[in-house]
Symmetry: C2
Subunit: 161 residues, 2 copies
């Protein structure tokens, strides 16, 4: 191999910067929706646990400067690890957090997420804005947007329980 080829071979996959926004209205009040993000046991139940998913670790410290670590596996898949940092919390109104996602040793993404809650009649309009960095050939924003819609659907079901 030439020097140039060596250099190409060791180069990290290129970074893709992308922003998406998903909105959804829930019939429950902002206080109830906020609680689903604030209460560790609720978060574990509606967002982390899943029929097909084995949760290896879930540590959730919901305060500014606090962190989340979640590790889980789907059958036959690599360990997925999420490391999040809570950056801003305004009760019943806003949560800003950053997070890193890994699949085994592979970095999937780094994200800055803003959840905004607005009273809408007797319910809540939730807006999820995600500014993310993804990596060529590894993962992209389309998958994450689909995943976010899926999570917000899970939340709708949890709120009626």
């Amino acid at each position: 191999m030439t020097d140039v080829m060596t250099e190409l071979a060791t180069e990290a996959p290129g970074a893709i910067h992308s922003t998406f926004r998903v909105s959804r209205t829930y019939p429950q009040a902002p206080e109830r929706v906020f609680k689903a993000f604030e209460d560790t046991e609720l978060v574990r139940r509606w967002r982390v646990e899943d029929d097909n998913c084995d949760v290896l670790e879930f540590a959730y410290d919901f305060r500014v400067g606090g962190t989340e670590v979640s590790r889980f596996v789907f059958p036959g898949g690599p360990e997925i690890r999420l490391d999040a940092q809570f950056q801003d919390i305004v009760a019943n109104e806003r949560i800003i957090f950053t997070y890193r996602m890994m699949a085994g040793p592979v970095l999937l993404s780094v994200s800055l997420s803003t959840i905004e809650l607005k009273r809408s009649g007797r319910g809540t309009e939730l807006t999820f804005s995600e500014q993310g960095v993804y990596f060529e050939g590894v993962d992209g924003p389309k998958n994450r947007e689909d995943g976010t819609r899926f999570i917000l659907e899970k939340l709708a079901k949890a709120l009626v329980d």
Copy 2:
């Protein structure tokens, strides 16, 4: 005050999402430019210290999962505090970090920053991409972009020392 006015008065300032990108070419090789972000003493000297600035704290742990805390004051101003988390480090190629900026008790911004280094002849093209959340009436992306250009100019001077 009516209930509606109370509600408006206690609402957090609205979030503004914005992305900017600044590029700059340095005559030094990527290894030299990367070192200016890797070496704690170098970082302190070129990026944190300033003639008009009193550095109250600087703790820099440059590894994935590591953090930076910087606290400083300009004459007559509030304490500025930066809390950063290193999210991805590829030696001589890329640094991804998130950070929160406060002025006294006021949150100025939360950001996701990607620094990419590409060899360009004998020098380095540095691209700084910042995906940020700012707050209405507090701070905006224009200031941060100006500040980033200022920092990259300081780096140019530090690299010739």
